[in-house]
């Protein structure tokens, strides 16, 4: 009923606006999802799923209690690992029972549930509530996401139990409480049944990220980075919040089930506000996603976030939290498709911003010396790919890349962490080399090689398959300049291979040399390897090596799964999960029938060769410059620096294209000046002139009469007498006039 009205209104508006009606839905062709979304069912048999969310909460509370009790053992770590493993097991059980095509809602408890009578007073019944309860929404997308989130959470907590060993005591409890809070928020984000619960998780992961980046709170850089991350995310959150308001304004609900049904029924949401608000929804959501997932222009917080302990970087800032933006857009894909159907360009914008961020971040990563920062920029770059995939309407490609990236990037970070941990906080790749030959570092070296290969997308690796899925799509989906975007992606793939192997070759091959970082030293915590003269690297222990091995096996499995097909087939399973959920509706936008071709081949086939070639070329260049002939790298740098017309390029890349400085100059500083100016305005004008000035008015008026009060008694008497005389004169005058 409402949608019918919306339809008419939209058409009327389009006519009135002089349009040809092309902004409306195509006549006679109802908007539908390629895979229709079934209405939600509330099933009691999934009640166990609630524990996915509660176990991390319990572990967070327990860690808090341990901190209060002053526990100095590894108890917090084991509690957290057990809780997260429990979450993972429950997730696995739940997913195995789940039919991806039939979303299930599990109600936990009432949170916000408002309803009221109609304002016009015509209806007595309560209607139109704002409902956002604590409930879980289980479908292919959330099942897929929760599986790898809880799995990696468990693994990384296990790794951290060794990594954080030095801080046993309050710090240890604090760390694991933070990790538990993060997992709670992430599960709420992924499993939430409505946008407000997603928002709860969204801000919750922001809080966890703030607390964990600022873990070394005595270090000003860490505190600043934490603050920056939270505030940058808040800018994104503003977008998300506005998006949520708009959705509520247009559709009157915030629950996925109701929203998807409304969209499926063709509700363009244009019934309100001439429809302009409806077209804004995807743009607002996009802003939120870009904030959380570190895309241009809101990516600058992610590299700084590397100030946190490395397990945090691996878990939050590589594998899980930063993919929340991808999740958001995949989850709300129907809104983007609706936008596309109405002639909007939101999806194109997602694709382009993703692609350009991928390129920008890759160029910066090429010139960094801090290996964690290289990985951070590579994360930004890979996230760009995922957004590109979403924008190109291959949710499957994007989500597939999320999974492979989660594995290999977590692996890479954990390897970096192991190096940093073992070499006294050293992260500068100029000060490390040939670690391969240091005893005890074999596992780290070879697992990191796997991670690097997977990130570079060399043929046969998991990253290769998932990235190709996105890149080839660029040549299939119709959209503004998508073919150009595809080539940008391909070039970026080459750059990726280069900077990844630049790190690996520099750190693990060549002559062995290393020294600890004097400045770092775990931020004032008592640590024993600050001294330079008798520095001995300590090799990673059993737990770190075990986690690295498991993750690399997982990464291998993701690649092997591609070949063995349906039996162990990861790809088929993922495709099934994604494309049966609300995210999988994108294929509808592809041209029916024949695909366009790329260089005379089907794009999928062509991409195997093209991206493989670019990846291998990048790898080869890295090998030449950083392993085989390191002098060539110095020569190249000298060549660049010697020429004025090009010397700015490596410098700008090393300084991250000065984006941070631009932000400070254009936003932070003006705002600060505005703050100071307003404070001055408040004191001088509002308070000084406005308030004190008004308060002074009676005093000014009084000063007119002040000379009368000269302290002479006779003076007062005279004025009294004079006053009396005046009064009498006035009475007499009135009396005289009256009598005349």
């Amino acid at each position: 009923m409402l949608s019918a009205i919306a339809h008419t209104t939209l058409a009327t508006v389009a006519m009135a606006g002089g349009g040809d009606g092309s902004h409306g839905l195509p006549a006679g062709e109802p908007f539908g999802f390629q895979v229709p979304i079934a209405p939600v069912v509330d099933e009691q048999s999934f009640a166990l799923a609630a524990w996915m969310i509660w176990l991390p909460v319990i572990s967070a509370v327990l860690c808090g209690i341990y901190a209060a009790l002053g526990v100095k053992s590894r108890l917090p770590a084991w509690t957290t690992v057990a809780a997260l493993a429990g979450s993972f097991v429950i997730a696995a059980i739940t997913v195995s029972k789940l039919d991806f095509a039939k979303p299930v809602v599990v109600h936990l408890f009432d949170w916000i549930d408002l309803s009221w009578s109609s304002g016009s007073g015509t209806a007595d019944d309560k209607w139109h509530g704002l409902r956002a309860n604590f409930a879980l929404y289980l479908d292919g997308l959330s099942a897929y996401w929760i599986l790898f989130v809880t799995f990696l959470g468990t693994m990384i907590a296990f790794y951290a139990s060794e990594y954080m060993e030095e801080d046993k005591g309050t710090g240890y409890c604090r760390f694991f409480a933070g990790v538990s809070i993060f997992l709670f928020a992430m599960t709420a984000l992924v499993l939430g049944e409505n946008l407000i619960m997603l928002y709860l998780g969204w801000e919750g992961v922001g809080l966890a990220s703030y607390l964990l980046i600022g873990y070394y709170y005595k270090k000003p850089a860490a505190v600043a980075a934490a603050k920056k991350a939270f505030i940058m995310n808040r800018i994104g959150d503003l977008g998300l919040a506005l998006g949520i308001y708009l959705i509520w304004l247009e559709y009157g609900s915030l629950e996925y089930g109701a929203l998807f049904q409304a969209l499926q029924a063709g509700d363009t949401g244009a019934g309100q506000y001439d429809g302009w608000a409806a077209t804004l929804i995807p743009w607002c959501l996009m802003l939120g996603a870009f904030g959380k997932s570190a895309q241009f222009p809101l990516y600058v917080w992610l590299p700084d976030a590397m100030e946190g302990p490395t397990p945090v970087s691996a878990l939050i800032h590589a594998a899980t939290m930063v993919t929340a933006g991808i999740y958001l857009i995949a989850r709300t894909m129907p809104f983007f498709l609706m936008n596309k159907a109405l002639g909007g360009h939101a999806l194109e914008a997602v694709a382009w911003i993703g692609g350009l961020t991928a390129l920008l971040a890759a160029t910066i990563a090429m010139a960094q010396y801090d290996i964690k920062r290289v990985m951070a920029y590579s994360t930004v770059s890979q996230l760009g790919y995922m957004f590109m995939g979403l924008g190109l309407a291959t949710s499957f490609g994007a989500c597939y890349h999320v999974l492979t990236h989660a594995f290999f990037k977590a692996l890479l970070f954990l390897c970096c962490g192991a190096v940093m941990h073992g070499f006294g906080g050293q992260l500068d790749l100029r000060k490390l080399g040939g670690i391969r030959r240091v005893p005890g570092w074999g596992v780290v070296c070879w697992t990191m090689l796997i991670g690097s290969l997977w990130l570079s997308g060399v043929p046969g690796s998991a990253g290769y398959f998932s990235k190709d899925e996105i890149l080839s799509q660029a040549f299939i989906t119709e959209g503004a300049g998508f073919r150009l975007l595809g080539w940008i992606g391909i070039i970026t793939a080459g750059l990726t291979a280069y900077y990844t192997f630049r790190v690996w070759f520099r750190v693990f091959t060549g002559p062995t040399h290393y020294k600890p970082d004097e400045a770092h030293g775990h931020a004032g915590h008592d640590d024993d390897h600050g001294a330079d003269h008798d520095f001995h690297p300590h090799a990673p222990g059993l737990r770190i090596n075990l986690v690295l091995t498991i993750l690399s096996l997982g990464a291998l499995w993701l690649a092997v799964g591609y070949f063995v097909g349906d039996v162990w087939g990861t790809q088929t399973w993922i495709k099934n999960a994604i494309e049966n959920s609300s995210a999988g509706t994108g294929l509808q936008l592809m041209p029916a029938g024949e695909h366009p071709t790329l260089l005379g081949f089907d794009p999928h086939t062509a991409m195997y060769f093209i991206s493989g070639t670019f990846g291998l070329v990048g790898l080869a260049i890295a090998w030449w410059l950083h392993c085989a002939n390191r002098k060539a790298a110095d020569d190249l740098r000298g060549w660049f620096n010697g020429r004025a017309w090009i010397a700015w390029l490596p410098r700008a890349m090393e300084h991250k294209w000065y984006v941070d400085e631009i932000y400070i100059a254009t936003i932070r500083f003006p705002l600060w000046i505005a703050g100071q100016a307003l404070y001055m305005f408040d004191r001088i004008f509002v308070d000084g002139i406005g308030v004190n000035g008004t308060a002074r008015l009676p005093k000014i008026a009084a000063s007119l009469f002040q000379p009368l009060y000269n302290g002479k008694l006779q003076g007062y008497a005279t004025s009294m007498a004079g006053g009396l005389a005046l009064v009498i004169a006035w009475i007499v005058w009135v009396w005289m006039r009256g009598s005349v």
Binding site: L114, W116, G119
Partner: protein, 539 residues
């Protein structure tokens, strides 16, 4: 009778404090405030309208009116609805925390201090439970006196200026309010022949006045209430007073006194002058939005942490005002919730700062900081309260901020909520930048105060009276507040449900008025098109 007892308990305690000797003053005051709390809890349990479908006062007016001057219709009448009872609870819960927070800080003239504190408590509760204009106004003004003395005797170095400004500014404002109320009562007497000062009579009568008269009444009432709220640009007394007041005073000012203004908006302005509200809501909203952004930017450049929190109150109250004049149940419920959550979160922050001040005798962010290592328990509470203020989901600030903003956002001519409004997305969008700015200044403060290397004033030496980190007494003052912040964030619905009938009752005349307001405006194509859809849509 129950409510009279509620008001009398603190006053009786005052006598006890007065005769109990300087040493016992704080213990007696604590006991008295706990008894008040217990009695208020009993009342809350007796209160029959938590789940009501219809809005109603309790106890019924005829049981509870005490005629003073029957010829002039002056009768003292007390009664609560769910909103005022919630605000009373806010006050009584914070009162023991205030006493605990001043336990050591007040060293001289203790009896007097606690007497003023208890009198202040009586006065603000009196405002919330008053059901007639005379007692409302009396308590409203009387609350200035204890505030004035607490500020003037126990305040910081600028206490003279602060106390005078606080008193005179708010007093002058409320004189205009009295004028407005008296005009309504006079008109009521003129037109019905009976004098009455009961709020229910006046609110039933006032909407029949002409739009022009309503406008003037709105102006007069706003003059008094906007100062208290405070609304930009009438806020300047607040940073000064909050900054200079002793801890308990700051807590009370921020948590309760500011709510008097909002409560006045809810109890007088919305029901009395609906036509004028519809006309002037955008103007008030503009002031609120300016206040949000303006105060937030000012917060960011403060170095005095108490002043920072004081300005943040100005910013936060803007949200509550927006929610109130969004004229839909979402916003109104959000606004009431905002009063409570701001009371707890900001009150708690002031308590925290007080505890830090007792140890370091400075509240300058440049001199003290990095306390997380030295005072982990304190930092824990501080960070929880900061995030409650930031509006982190799961804590109380989020629910209120979210509802106020979404209420403002949906206050459009053709809102699906059935309650059209005169604000709209632009107000909400600009106000929502306050979320970012709020995170900026609050995290700036946290970063300076809790994190980074430890900084202490040069002349600092450990006090023998206070432990390095919080004592059990201080934890007992903060823990309930932090717990409430969490509970409100996770389980807001009992309160939201309790406010539902109130919202419906207060907003009953508005949808029709707003619609006729839009009809009166030039009937452009747009407006007629939109209102057509509203009519159809609401069926």
């Amino acid at each position: 009778m129950q409510l009279w007892i509620l008001l009398l308990i603190p006053l009786v305690t005052c006598i006890g404090v007065g005769f109990g000797g300087e040493r016992n003053a704080r213990a007696i005051a604590l006991g008295g405030s706990l008894v008040t709390l217990a009695w208020a809890a009993v009342l809350a349990m007796q209160f029959p309208h938590w789940q009501a479908e219809q809005w109603a006062y309790w106890p019924a007016p005829e049981d509870n009116a005490f005629p003073v001057l029957p010829g002039l219709g002056i009768a003292l009448e007390l009664g609560v609805d769910s909103v005022s009872l919630l605000l009373v609870l806010l006050n009584v819960i914070l009162m023991p925390c205030c006493v605990l927070g001043s336990w050591v800080a007040i060293k001289e003239r203790r009896r007097e201090f606690y007497i003023w504190l208890l009198v202040l408590s009586t006065c603000v509760m009196g405002v919330f439970v008053a059901r007639d204009v005379i007692s409302f106004y009396t308590f409203f003004e009387a609350s200035l006196v204890p505030g004035f003395f607490m500020l003037a005797i126990y305040g910081g170095p600028d206490r003279r200026e602060a106390s005078f400004k606080f008193f005179i500014y708010t007093f002058v404002g409320s004189l205009f309010m009295l004028l407005g109320l008296a005009y309504v009562a006079w008109q009521h007497a003129q037109q019905t022949g009976d004098w009455s000062f009961a709020i229910s009579d006046l609110t039933a009568f006032a909407p029949t006045l002409s739009a022009g008269e309503q406008g003037w009444i709105l102006l007069a009432l706003m003059a008094g209430l906007a100062v208290k709220v405070p609304l930009f640009p009438l806020h300047t007394w607040l940073p000064l007073a909050h900054n200079q007041a002793p801890t308990a005073g700051s807590v009370n000012f921020a948590a309760v006194i500011l709510k008097l203004g909002l409560y006045g908006l809810y109890v007088f302005i919305l029901p009395m002058v609906p036509e004028a509200v519809v006309t002037w809501a955008p103007t008030i909203a503009v002031l609120a939005v300016i206040g949000i952004v303006y105060a937030a930017l000012i917060c960011w450049v403060q170095t005095d942490v108490k002043k920072l929190i004081a300005y943040s109150s100005v910013s936060h109250m803007g949200f509550a005002v927006l929610g109130l004049i969004a004229l839909n149940p979402l916003g109104l419920q959000g606004s009431v919730f905002y009063m409570l959550s701001h009371g707890f979160a900001t009150g708690g922050l002031f308590l925290c700062i007080g505890m830090m001040y007792e140890r370091y005798h400075t509240k300058d962010l440049r001199e003290v900081g990095g306390l997380a290592f030295k005072m982990p328990v304190w930092s824990f509470f501080f960070i929880v309260l900061v995030f409650a203020s930031v509006g982190l989901p799961g804590l109380n600030g989020f629910v209120s901020e979210f509802l106020c903003l979404i209420g403002t956002f949906t206050a459009v001519p053709d809102a699906k909520t059935g309650y059209p409004g005169v604000l709209g997305p632009w107000f909400a969008a600009i106000a929502a930048t306050g979320m970012i700015l709020g995170a900026m200044y609050l995290l700036y403060m946290t970063g300076k105060l809790c994190f980074g290397p430890l900084r202490e004033p040069a002349d600092h030496h450990e006090s023998e009276e206070l432990p390095k980190d919080l004592s059990l007494r201080e934890i007992a003052a903060l823990a309930p507040i932090a717990l409430i912040c969490l509970i409100f964030g996770v389980m807001p619905w009992p309160i939201l449900h309790a406010v539902e009938p109130v919202a419906e009752e207060v907003l009953k005349p508005y949808p029709a008025l707003v619609e006729s307001h839009f009809e009166q405006m030039d009937a452009t194509a747009k407006v007629s098109l939109l209102s057509d859809t509203t009519l159809e849509g609401s069926r």
